[in-house]
């Protein structure tokens, strides 16, 4: 089973996230507040999601059953929300550069979907979490001084 590595670099501390897959130049990370949601999924769902995340990290093609590149944009930062999908579970997040690595950060999850259509309330919540995160992240980055900004 792929190990859930603990973060070793400061960039992950800044975004308060753990790595789910990071064997390549890119990585998938999950916000620690979301970690329990992921860990409580059954093995098959987690296994498929991890396998899909590996493909994202490798930069290879994914089917529409695996990944939705357009779940709509956030209101404030106009950032595109995307989703990993497996067995009707959706993990919502965004792709940004953190510590010089392209990083997919997972902010929200819909683990109890009964149908294929996304739950609009969870989508809305995910987008609002992204906006709040980007507000805080910008502040933290500014706090580090312009010379440290990526």
């Amino acid at each position: 089973m792929p190990s859930m590595k603990k973060p070793k670099d400061d960039s992950l501390e800044i975004i308060e996230s753990d790595v789910l897959d990071g064997r390549h130049e890119t990585r998938d990370v999950i916000r620690r507040v979301m970690r329990k949601d992921f860990d409580t999924l059954d093995d098959q769902k987690r296994a498929r999601l991890i396998a899909i995340m590996m493909r994202w990290c490798q930069g290879v093609g994914m089917t529409r059953e695996m990944f939705n590149a357009n779940e709509g944009r956030t209101a404030k930062h106009n950032k595109m929300l995307q989703a990993f999908k497996a067995f009707k579970v959706r993990l919502y997040g965004i792709s940004i550069s953190v510590g010089d690595r392209r990083t997919f950060i997972i902010f929200d999850a819909d683990t109890a979907k009964k149908q294929n259509k996304a739950d609009p309330n969870i989508l809305k919540r995910a987008k609002s979490r992204v906006d709040k995160f980007l507000d805080d992240y910008e502040k933290k980055e500014k706090g580090n001084g312009p010379e440290k900004r990526k």
């Binding site: 396998a51 590996m54 493909r55 089917t63 059953e65 695996m66």
Partner: protein, 144 residues
């Protein structure tokens, strides 16, 4: 729900990884060649739902024959290769269950009544092909 052993979990992860890999490969070829799922269904002479099934999460009824048919329809020849599972490094394996890295390597853990409650472990590589209980016995040097 009964808790799965690490070995069972590994098997599930390996299975899903291969399913995703094959689905991804077919998808890549189709993207590259501009072939839609409807086109593929026609070329394979199967129904459109059959193709949907291939790409579904469950991926049920996706046989090697169907994969061969799909690859032929896509004018590709599949090639299979294998690689040693990185999680298993037999050279570094330690037979001592108390060793610090015991949990990090893949062992076959079996519970054999014959061993009167002792946990037994065996290295799949060494005892390959033997029945589970025999492996357990062999690891303890008991005649099977």
């Amino acid at each position: 729900m009964a808790q799965k052993s690490a070995n069972e979990q590994d098997a599930i992860f390996a299975e899903e990884a291969l399913v995703v890999e094959v689905q991804g490969l077919l998808h890549e070829i189709m993207e590259e060649k501009g072939i839609s799922r409807a086109d593929l269904a026609r070329a394979m002479n199967v129904s459109r739902p059959r193709i949907t099934q291939i790409f579904s999460d469950d991926c049920k009824n996706f046989t090697i024959r169907l994969l061969a048919k799909a690859m032929f329809a896509l004018n590709e020849v599949p090639q299979f290769s294998r690689a040693k599972n990185e999680a298993i490094d037999f050279d570094k394996m330690n037979f001592d269950p108390q060793a610090a890295d015991f949990k990090r390597v893949r062992w076959t853990e079996v519970f054999a009544e014959e061993l009167k409650g002792d946990w037994a472990c065996a290295n799949d590589n060494i005892f390959d092909g033997l029945a589970v209980t025999r492996r357990a016995k062999a690891s303890y040097g008991i005649a099977a």
